[in-house]
């Protein structure tokens, strides 16, 4: 017994010797609770690639100030990883020399992942894709394509199929889809971020329990989107967006799929949109400043607006008709005219048509702008042949004039019966 004890003590000593005799200055232990801390500088790219590939649980990697050039980086199937730089203006990861495309940084099945204080830029595919991971924190990260056109990758910051995501103090620019995109995730916070010159500044898609606040999305095609798409792993909902500043989102839609006039996903976002809610339910939008998005401050559309087969896709994971949407106490303003790119966009043209129709059918409007909130008017009455007013529990409480239009999308191709209606009373919060 005594011998066994001494033996195990010796074994422990041996272990300690092994660890301590590693004199590599880059490796030390127990930094901020991580078992392994590694530190690298510019020029160490090949070592960094190898360190990412052979990373073990509980590792902290510091990339010191400077510019790094990578094909791509990936981390898979580990726990408690932190990747950090020395500041977004100090540590720069450049993927512009990629030959094989794909993501800049790809994170898969990591339980406990933090990345912060750096800029990542100019990959061919998405910049940071985090797939099927838990407890994810993205902080003080700038994710940028220098040219905002269809050569850019889709998503700058892209957690998908994750659980517990926090994205804060980040900046996304130039994405040909959404700058910050949270997809098929359960529980996410996006706060104090900025996004400009993306097709969408931020998009929450098929995601449950998301809170989006304190952000500024500007100069995108559309500021903020909440979408539910059919056929995916889960239905989204329970999304709150408040105290954000969505402004001047009037950029042309340069989504890649849109270049051939097609119409899925973010290609459907009209230039000049502040907020778009598409087929998503249980959403609350309040205390936001939604200014100078010149095609519509808030657009509430059903899946039917973009997919004539939406009804065939209804199941536990998808309803094309939004329910329980609360819109209140936002500050909304719009410019005097539609942004120029709206006239080249298929949904944009509908918005222009709605404004013209309203002003034609009611001269007392004296050529006012399209109302701030555009609802496509497709409700569950369509499915039930019902006539219930407000069957999907929309609730709108906004001060001022020219707040709302039910655009009667169902009849939009039938000019004789098409009648957009600005009467909001049925939708006022009770």
């Amino acid at each position: 017994m005594k011998i066994i004890k001494s033996f195990s003590l010796l074994f422990t000593v041996s272990l300690a010797l092994m660890v301590s005799s590693c004199s590599n200055p880059a490796a030390s232990t127990h930094k901020d609770g991580y078992n392994t801390s590694l530190s690298f500088g510019p020029g160490d790219e090949s070592k960094i690639v190898e360190a990412f590939l052979s990373i073990k649980d509980s590792t902290d990697i510091l990339l010191k100030q400077g510019t790094y050039k990578f094909e791509n980086l990936s981390i898979a199937q580990v726990k408690n990883i932190r990747i950090r730089g020395e500041g977004f203006d100090k540590t720069i990861l450049d993927f512009s020399q990629q030959t094989s495309g794909g993501e800049g940084i790809r994170v898969t099945n990591v339980n406990g992942f933090t990345i912060n204080d750096m800029t990542i830029r100019d990959s061919k595919g998405d910049l940071l894709k985090i797939n099927m991971s838990r407890d994810v924190v993205v902080n003080n990260l700038h994710a940028i394509w220098k040219t905002a056109d269809s050569t850019s990758g889709g998503y700058a910051i892209y957690p998908v199929l994750c659980k517990n995501v926090l994205i804060e103090n980040c900046y996304a620019q130039g994405s040909s889809d959404a700058g910050i995109y949270v997809g098929q995730t359960d529980t996410a916070i996006v706060r104090n971020c900025k996004g400009a010159k993306n097709v969408a500044g931020c998009e929450i898609e098929n995601t449950l329990h998301a809170e989006v606040y304190g952000n500024e999305f500007y100069d995108n095609t559309a500021g903020f989107l909440v979408f539910d798409l059919p056929g995916l792993s889960q239905r989204g909902g329970y999304v709150k967006a408040h105290d954000n500043y969505f402004h001047d989102n009037n950029f042309r839609n340069f989504a890649k799929a849109g270049s051939f006039g097609t119409s899925w996903g973010v290609g459907n976002a009209s230039p000049g949109s502040g907020v778009i809610i598409l087929a998503a339910s249980n959403i609350e939008l309040y205390n936001n400043r939604i200014l100078n998005n010149n095609s519509g401050a808030i657009i509430l559309a059903s899946g039917f607006a973009v997919d004539d087969k939406a009804v065939e896709k209804i199941n536990d994971h998808y309803s094309p008709i939004s329910k329980n949407i609360k819109i209140h106490d936002n500050t909304m303003e719009m410019g005097n005219s539609f942004p120029e790119p709206v006239y080249q966009h298929h949904i944009g043209k509908l918005l222009v048509g709605i404004e013209q129709k309203l002003n034609a059918q009611d001269p007392t409007r004296k050529n006012k702008r399209i109302p701030y909130i555009m609802y496509d008017g497709v409700s569950t009455n369509l499915l039930t042949n019902g006539t219930t007013p407000n069957p999907d529990s929309l609730c709108i409480q906004q001060q001022g004039d020219n707040i709302f239009v039910n655009a009667d999308f169902i009849n939009i191709n039938n000019p004789k019966v098409w009648h957009p209606n600005t009467e909001v009373s049925a939708y006022n919060c009770k």
Partner: protein, 360 residues
């Protein structure tokens, strides 16, 4: 006496520790932990395993190294593939009707990749090993890159791009940059629901009579004592051979091709789970197979097209479009293919074109 043992033992431990330390502080500072915790350590060179007799590149297997084939294999740039199962002495795998066979701990699966050069010579590129680690019961992966002399292959984790000129199945010359995967690339296809797993050795894909053999491959494995619990072979599911139009219908062959080439990612829990496009052989739901399904995050990869499959119209179906491209960002599969598999594209194009058109 007891003290002597203790002393000797401790010297031994210190020596082991010292050796591990040296290794651990070499080119890879993470190894010391792996060595200490008892998990599987891959050897430096392929030759060290002793899988093959004489000239390594002849891949002439030693007893206990079983060469196997799949009914429908993954396409990898017209690569010539050799596959082997190495079971630990006296151990068997347990038959599993659906999915990958239940292999015993310490099983090694070997897959060698070579190409046919313009002199019609077989040139070795890489050898991939999957090991079922007895330490934690998990599969582990390592790649070995063949040297220029073609005498051995050396452990290689960071991937590589190799310019090669190969002959395809019809003898056409193709120049490309072959992509050797890094170890995380391996995981992209081999992880399902966070579990690393082999892909090929499923009962249905092993259920084939290999050319030149009399006996069904699974029956042969059972006869050799490699597999336990194999039921009557006529009851084992069959994966159609993608290029055998004599025995299988167009639909069967196309679905088998998609299963093997796509469904490791395009499945519940796979790397492309987020897309909602699921291409397993057993998948029945038309939108999940891609029929009139809109893309989710394909971006420019969709080529401006609207649906994965439009029945009767392969020319406007994203599935056929992406198989028929080699550009990164467009090409599917994203990994393991840098040239177009013309015969595969032809199969899928014909399959889509012969699908019954839907009413608009």
């Amino acid at each position: 006496m007891k003290n002597y043992i203790l002393f000797g033992g401790s010297i031994f431990l210190l020596m082991v520790a010292g050796m591990l330390t040296i290794e651990g502080c070499g080119n890879n500072q993470h190894q010391e932990k792996a060595a200490v915790d008892g998990s599987y350590q891959f050897k430096e060179k392929l030759s060290e395993y002793g899988f093959f007799k004489n000239n390594l590149k002849d891949l002439d297997p030693q007893p206990g190294v079983f060469h196997y084939e799949l009914a429908t294999p993954l396409f990898t740039d017209y690569a010539v593939k050799d596959r082997y199962i190495v079971l630990p002495n006296g151990k068997q795998m347990n038959f599993v009707a659906e999915g990958v066979q239940d292999f015993p701990d310490s099983t090694i699966l070997i897959k060698n990749f070579a190409y046919t050069n313009t002199d019609h010579k077989k040139i070795m590129i890489e050898t991939r090993l999957l090991v079922k680690d007895p330490f934690d019961k998990k599969w582990k992966v390592m790649d070995y890159l063949w040297n220029a002399e073609q005498t051995d292959a050396v452990k290689h984790i960071i991937g590589a791009r190799l310019p090669i000129t190969l002959l395809d199945d019809d003898g056409n010359k193709i120049t490309t940059t072959y992509q050797v995967p890094n170890t995380n690339d391996c995981k992209r296809c081999h992880i399902n629901n966070d579990i690393f797993t082999p892909i090929g050795p499923k009962a249905r894909n092993l259920n084939v009579t290999v050319a030149g053999h009399e006996e069904n491959q699974l029956s042969e494995m059972a006869r050799l004592g490699m597999i336990a619990g194999l039921p009557d072979i006529s009851t084992v599911p069959v994966l159609p051979k993608w290029n055998d139009a004599k025995h299988f219908t167009l639909d069967q062959r196309a679905r088998a091709y998609l299963d093997v080439n796509c469904a490791h990612c395009h499945t519940h829990g796979g790397d492309a789970y987020n897309t909602g496009l699921f291409l397993e052989y057993q998948q029945k739901d038309p939108p999940h197979i891609g029929i009139m399904k809109e893309p989710v995050s394909a971006g420019g990869g969709a080529g401006g097209l609207n649906y994965d499959i439009i029945p009767g119209d392969a020319a406007h179906s994203i599935l056929a479009y992406r198989m028929n491209g080699a550009e990164p960002g467009t090409a599917m599969p994203e990994l393991a293919r840098t040239v177009i598999h013309k015969q595969g594209v032809q199969l899928i194009t014909e399959w889509i074109n012969k699908m019954q058109k839907q009413k608009k």
